[in-house]
């Protein structure tokens, strides 16, 4: 289980002396094998929480622990063996091939001077097959479409062989077709492989379709958390986004759908 306990975090700069926390007393439990959604308006602290959960940012107060072992005190390599991150977009400065990008996921498992061997290649191949990108292996990453890129980045994260996958708006810049593609992939990885996932998103319908639990955040605090069907309600969406929404079960989709109606001033 990935557990965040009473996290506080404040971005500091010389020009911003405010005492306002970006994250204020946030506690979240992510059960093993679950797919948890993080929802909230822009600037509510979703990305900050993901960065704290991945250990990239150290919390000012509070702790993050995976299977009861605190991340603080573990090396970056140790953490990366257990937790992988899929950002919204990835822009390498050089023209790496898809296979090279995917193999970078093996970094935490290799020594400083160690090169990947057949076992690492097999894992990369498995991740490419799992994300249906094996036919792209020798293509340059930068020549791929948005959906292909995102699948390759997910393959790279899978090659890390993590227990937990943290995804920051992985479908934000994708068209409808690619959104469905990535959503199907995530469901499959969670269901078939049991990878625990935390998914930050603005897409309420994606969250409704994929996530078994949701955490709603506003102004750096947790507004509500619980099973998706209990939390994703019209009153809660109003509190979260100041938006009136129509929330109803969609029989064909098999989950609730959210239609925003109007902004409340």
């Amino acid at each position: 289980m990935l557990r965040a306990s009473e996290l506080f975090y404040r971005y500091s700069s010389r020009h911003d002396t405010s005492r306002v926390f970006s994250l204020d007393n946030v506690s979240v439990d992510v059960e093993r094998g679950s797919l948890m959604g993080l929802l909230g308006p822009n600037g509510c602290g979703k990305t900050t929480l993901l960065r704290l959960l991945s250990g990239v940012l150290p919390a000012h107060r509070g702790a993050v622990a995976l299977n009861d072992v605190p991340l603080r005190g573990q090396s970056r390599r140790q953490i990366a063996k257990q937790i992988a991150v899929v950002p919204q977009e990835t822009h390498p400065a050089f023209d790496y091939t898809v296979l090279e990008m995917v193999l970078m996921g093996r970094h935490p498992h290799l020594g400083v001077l160690e090169l990947e061997g057949p076992a690492d290649l097999a894992l990369a191949r498995e991740a490419l097959v799992a994300t249906s990108t094996e036919h792209l292996a020798s293509r340059a990453y930068m020549t791929l479409s948005g959906g292909e890129k995102q699948r390759v980045v997910i393959a790279s994260a899978l090659t890390q062989t993590p227990e937990v996958l943290l995804l920051d708006e992985p479908t934000a810049s994708l068209d409808l077709g690619y959104q469905l593609e990535v959503a199907t992939l995530l469901t499959r990885l969670n269901r078939d492989r049991g990878v625990t996932m935390v998914l930050a998103t603005h897409d309420l319908n994606l969250a409704a379709a994929l996530c078994d639990r949701l955490v709603l955040m506003r102004d750096g605090r947790v507004l509500a958390q619980g099973p998706t069907r209990d939390v994703l309600t019209a009153p809660m969406i109003q509190r979260l986004y100041d938006v009136d929404a129509d929330v109803r079960f969609h029989a064909a989709a098999g989950h609730v759908t959210v239609t925003p109606l109007r902004r409340i001033q």
């Binding site: 700069s13 990366a80 063996k81 050089f94 091939t97 090169l115 993590p162 990878v195």
Partner: protein
């Protein structure tokens, strides 16, 4: 064992691209590349001392029956040409490798070892030592290289301090902006020093800035070796981190790279190599951008291959440029920095157009 590892390997169809991409493992590619570029470097370094405006006989060079003082061929080979070849190889390898590291650190394929002001600092130091006739020495280091190292260290220190003021990890934007600004600032100071200096001093300083591998003996090379050696040991620890840093700081951290430490190592090692190379041969331009890009065109962009291959090819490239510099208009000698600029300038522009 993690979950993905515990899953039986997928039996899904293996696409053609995957089949083509998989068998050439990094180990095989690295071995092939290092052998190829190593042979090129060795061949260039062996050939270069044999060629020049004065023809020499290899048999006479190694003829022990002729005393060294009377053996002109041996003197040309061992005193005039060999140190020059070694200096070229060391400088070329250091600048090319530093170019690779700076490009990955700054996530900018057009960065060079001179982008961050280290070279301008070194040039100012050398200029001051020449103009004020400094005579200070430190071990095998004479006044000009010593002053250029001091200038490089001051420039690197300022840029590093500015880039790490806000955070433990470096801001590559601040690094780049501070470097470019410092370059301009030091260049202005160099002009000022030239303005107040006399003609002889200005001529000597200008010749130094053009870059020159005619070091005259092995002593300056030996003096530059420890710094270059340390830089190359640090380089050896970097390549896989450079791959990830060039994807992005957060991506690197999420894949297990200690970003602040890797950035610090990259900056220090590349600055050391640049400072050592510039103190030895002056600021020879374009090696640090031409060589890494040529190497990438041949072997791809993986830093575990690009970094050692660039060092080897950089050595061969600068030795070959110096050979051209001393033979093309013989007996007149072209400054090697002019030759590299003649090749590098158009190449740089071609690169810009190609990227555009």
């Amino acid at each position: 064992m993690s979950r993905l590892e515990s899953v039986t390997t997928s039996k899904g169809p293996m696409g053609m691209d995957l089949a083509q991409a998989m068998p050439r493992s990094i180990r095989a590619r690295l071995a092939t590349t290092l052998t190829g570029f190593g042979l090129v470097a060795i061949a260039t370094c062996l050939l270069a001392p044999l060629v020049g405006s004065a023809p020499i006989s290899l048999a006479r060079v190694f003829d022990r029956s002729i005393p060294f003082a009377e053996n002109v061929d041996a003197q040309i080979f061992f005193v005039a040409r060999m140190p020059r070849v070694f200096a070229g190889a060391l400088t070329g390898a250091a600048l090319a490798a530093a170019g690779v590291v700076f490009q990955a650190l700054l996530r900018n394929a057009l960065a060079t070892p001179f982008t961050l002001g280290v070279s301008a600092g070194a040039s100012l130091g050398a200029m001051l030592a020449i103009v004020f006739g400094a005579t200070v020495t430190l071990g095998p280091l004479s006044a000009v290289p010593l002053a250029s190292l001091a200038g490089a260290a001051i420039a690197a220190g300022i840029v590093y301090r500015l880039a790490t003021m806000q955070d433990r990890a470096m801001s590559t934007t601040v690094l780049l902006l501070a470097g470019v600004t410092l370059n301009s600032f030091f260049s202005a100071l160099i002009l000022f020093v030239q303005y107040i200096a006399d003609f002889a001093q200005v001529y000597r300083a200008t010749r130094w800035i053009m870059g020159d591998l005619d070091v005259g003996s092995f002593q300056p090379i030996v003096a530059a070796l420890p710094m270059t050696g340390v830089a190359f040991v640090l380089f050896a620890l970097l390549p896989s981190s450079l791959n990830l840093l060039s994807v992005g700081a957060d991506a690197a951290a999420a894949r297990g790279v200690d970003v602040a430490r890797a950035q610090r190592l990259a900056f220090i090692s590349a600055s050391l190599a640049t400072a050592a190379a510039v103190s030895l041969a002056g600021p020879i331009g374009f090696i640090g951008i031409v060589v890494p890009h040529l190497v990438r065109l041949i072997v791809g962009v993986d830093h575990r291959i690009v970094l050692p291959a660039s060092a080897l090819f950089g050595a061969a490239f600068l030795v070959a440029c110096d050979l051209a510099a001393r033979t093309l208009l013989a007996p007149l000698e072209i400054p090697v920095g002019v030759v590299t600029a003649m090749l590098g300038g158009p190449f740089f522009l071609w690169l810009l157009v190609r990227r555009g």
